[in-house]
């Protein structure tokens, strides 16, 4: 179980848990990011924050601090793992 903020660019993970009380998570849920959803960290912004993640055929940006509380399972059966070196 890893915080989303620690994924490497190109790495996939399956969303294990989020905190529905938080405003950010409510926005993400409305976009379809629900527990069990596979997501991919595409890249970090040039200054390291925010992150661009892909899920359900869309690319969404969120801040590092907000990604720390999203827990993903990187060992779940996700598509091929292709982490790039940061």
């Amino acid at each position: 179980m890893t915080p989303l903020s620690q994924l490497l660019p190109g790495q996939f993970g399956k969303l294990a848990s989020l905190n529905p009380e938080r405003g950010v998570d409510q926005r993400l849920m409305a976009l379809g990011l629900l527990p069990g959803m596979v997501l991919k960290l595409i890249r970090r912004a040039p200054l390291g924050d925010p992150l661009a993640i892909e899920f359900g055929g869309q690319v969404v940006s969120l801040r590092l601090a907000e990604a720390e509380n999203l827990i993903v399972d990187v060992s779940a059966d996700c598509p091929i793992q292709r982490p790039r070196q940061p």
Partner: protein, 717 residues
């Protein structure tokens, strides 16, 4: 404009980046009206739409949103508009849901929420061309059946395809009144919803719809309860037990809504979309370049400098034409009225001059709106926010603050209007508050005059450039701490999470971009124009009256040999000196004395509160070189270089010392001297409170900084 038959109202609803506005323009053919929703800064765009059979309806384009959960003013407006809770607006007779064909699941979440309102619905699968390119095939008949028989049509608004189908579908929805199939709530959630709606209706004595009950149960934001007048004391116990009931059935009450809707939609979409061979979108490849760690920021800077550099370059020519036209008009009008000097001055200096001073900025404003439109519609605006967010987040702003702040270097007014793209109300207000600090192009003439007259001749062209660049940074230097203090200590608004979709890149559609540019410019002219016009007339009157003919005679008598031009300039200067404005300037000069301003500069400062660029021509009048003074005019420079204090402790010393020159420039860099900006700020922040605050704060800051500069530099030189 034809009026819609039978007063039917149809609402256009959809996620951002679905081509909704393009579809709206295609359906209404630009027969549109733009207004504001009462009490909020959300634009209400509506137009007349022909349904293909001669029947006409009023189509209203609601703001783009992802969910009906009321978190922002935009979202609240959509909920209120769809429920018929907006004063002076009817409940829509049908709702057109605009959906991105390449991402049905996410787009239909909003549709499924809207279905709960029970209105007749049309589903438009827009951007069908892109879906086709990607090899996606959508079974619209199957989707229509699964959604309870509502019309489902495909269109590509960008290419103008399928528009007639959309018109017919609206006609059939209005005629048949078929509602969209609703989600089946699990028993316990359904019971909790009924409890909430019943209790709210009993406590408030108002009817509460099922959709409102959902907002009450699922939203953390209390705006729906507030609107109904359901107090915290009344609702607390009911909501707590209803949410416990949801929790006991295995759902987190804050997650139940998306979980149930998305589960429902996965079943609805089963077998609807088949993926065939197709090209993956190019956006990912473009992003690899434009968001690259090193290349991304370089390209970003290049794009921004290119765009905004050309605002100045492109606007230069029409600005010169407008200036030329205004001067020519004055030249034609003034001689006709030689017999009526007051009317002549009112028309030439007051009305034509005032309108001209305002119109001259229109080219910049148009070009800025054009560029902002291109950046938004292409999808690059979201990337710019992504790249810049880190630089702004620490002081409470966000990446979307960047473009308004950059545009502020051209003109604050379009920048203030462009802050509407910032969803977070806190960041939006803070950005709007600091935009006027950016060194707009109206500050340029005074910097240019001071540098050309004093800095250049005394210290060389190198220092002249340094001072020019430095003056453009002064505002920025104060804006950042201001934003920091404002967002940390003053604004008590809860910040919005910065969740931003990076949409597919798309070629902007010229018609849409030009149309929005025109609408924004028209709004600017009608709103700001009237304010500055009124202020200009007032300032004209203050510097014209009283006008005793004996003043002119005295000047003429004491300069019998001087050339006519010189006498004319002297007469004018004498009139200004004894006008209300001149008397007032002399009276308040002590306030500006710590900045090293004499009464002539003080009059210039006072006269330029409605529009700061007026300073150059006012100095021209008070230093008696005539009002045709230009920043590069030799006469004005000479007159200012020769000006000396005639009395007081500084008698004999030059008025424009290095200290006074720098203080004057710093004062103009920071002072709130723009009528339209104040008016626009009031409009965008929903009241005069912030506009007044901005005026007082900036003016006080300008005085303090100007004083500090003068007092320090005068002791060093």
């Amino acid at each position: 404009m034809s009026t819609p038959d039978a007063g039917l109202l149809v609402a256009l609803v959809g996620n951002p980046n679905t081509g909704k506005s393009t579809l709206f323009n295609a359906l209404t053919g630009l027969r549109q009206r733009v207004g504001n929703y009462p009490g909020v800064t959300v634009a209400r765009k509506s137009g007349t739409c022909d349904l293909g059979d001669g029947q006409k309806v009023e189509l209203v384009d609601l703001p783009g949103l992802y969910s009906l959960a009321a978190a922002s003013p935009d979202e609240q407006v959509v909920i209120d508009a769809l429920s018929g809770n907006i004063a002076g607006d009817r409940r829509p007779d049908a709702v057109v849901l605009v959906v991105d064909s390449t991402n049905l699941l996410r787009n239909l979440f909003l549709a499924s929420q809207v279905a709960e309102l029970g209105r007749p619905v049309v589903i438009v699968l827009n951007q069908a061309d892109v879906a086709k390119e990607q090899g996606l095939r959508i079974d619209t008949e199957l989707l229509s059946r699964r959604l309870g028989g509502v019309p489902v049509v495909m269109s590509s608004a960008w290419k103008g395809e399928g528009i007639l189908d959309v018109r017919r579908a609206i006609a059939s929805a209005v005629a048949n009144q078929t509602p969209m199939k609703r989600v089946a709530w699990p028993t316990n959630i359904a019971a909790a919803l009924t409890d909430v709606a019943t209790a709210a209706a009993a406590d408030t004595g108002k009817p509460v719809t099922e959709a409102e009950g959902q907002r009450l149960l699922f939203d953390t934001n209390p705006s729906t309860a507030d609107r109904l007048g359901w107090t915290l004391a009344q609702r607390d116990k009911t909501l707590r037990s209803a949410r416990d009931r949801v929790r006991n059935s295995g759902y987190n009450p804050m997650a139940a809504e998306p979980l149930v809707h998305y589960a429902h939609l996965r079943i609805v979409l089963e077998g609807v979309v088949t993926e065939g061979a197709g090209k993956a979108g190019r956006s990912a490849a473009v992003d690899r370049l434009l968001l690259h760690r090193f290349l991304g920021p370089v390209l970003f800077l290049g794009i921004m400098l290119g765009f905004f550099g050309s605002v100045f370059w492109l606007a230069k020519f029409p600005m010169e034409w407008i200036q030329f036209g205004v001067d020519a008009l004055k030249g034609v009008v003034a001689p006709q009225l030689e017999a009526y000097p007051m009317l002549q001055s009112l028309l030439a200096d007051g009305i034509i001059g005032g309108v001209g001073a305002f119109l001259v900025f229109l080219p910049q404003i148009l070009i800025l709106f054009l560029f902002i439109g291109i950046l938004e519609d292409s999808g690059y605006m979201a990337r710019a926010a992504f790249i810049m967010d880190r630089l702004f987040s620490w002081c409470g702003l966000n990446g979307k603050s960047f473009v308004p702040l950059l545009s502020g270097f051209a003109c604050a007014i379009p920048s203030l209007l462009s802050t509407r793209t910032i969803e977070d109300p806190k960041a939006r207000l803070a950005t709007a508050f600091v935009v006027p600090f950016m060194s707009c192009s109206a500050r340029f003439p005074i910097y240019a005059l001071m540098c050309a007259a004093f800095i250049g001749p005394l210290y060389g062209p190198g220092w002249q450039s340094v001072v020019m660049i430095g003056m453009h940074c002064v505002g920025l230097f104060f804006a950042v701490p201001t934003a920091f203090v404002l967002t940390r200590l003053v604004l008590k608004v809860k910040p919005h999470p910065f969740v931003l979709e990076l949409p597919r890149y798309q070629m902007p559609k010229p018609r849409d971009v030009l149309w929005r540019m025109w609408q924004n410019a028209a709004e600017f002219v009608s709103k700001a124009g009237t304010v500055i016009f009124a202020i200009t007339i007032i300032v004209w009157a203050l510097s014209y009256f009283p006008r005793d003919a004996s003043v002119a005679e005295r000047i003429k008598a004491s300069n019998p040999t001087a050339a006519e031009e010189v006498v004319k300039a002297k007469v004018q200067a004498a009139y200004v000196e004894q006008s209300y404005m001149g008397r007032f300037g002399k009276a308040v000069q002590p306030i500006f004395d710590p900045l090293g301003f004499d009464w002539k500069i003080t009059v210039g400062v006072l006269a330029s509160f409605p529009a700061r660029e007026v300073i150059v021509s006012t100095l021209g009048v008070t230093y008696s070189v005539g009002e045709g003074a230009k920043a590069d005019g030799q006469h004005l420079r000479k007159a200012m270089q020769d000006a000396k204090w005639s009395e007081g402790p500084r008698a004999g010393a030059p008025i424009f010392s290095l200290a006074a020159v720098l203080a004057l420039m710093v004062f103009f860099a920071l002072c709130s001297q723009c009528g339209p900006t104040i008016a626009t700020l009031a409009q965008e922040t929903g009241g005069w409170k912030w506009a007044a605050g901005s005026f007082v704060y900036m003016t006080a800051l300008a005085w303090l900084a100007g004083t500090a500069v003068y007092q320090v530099v005068i002791r060093l030189t």
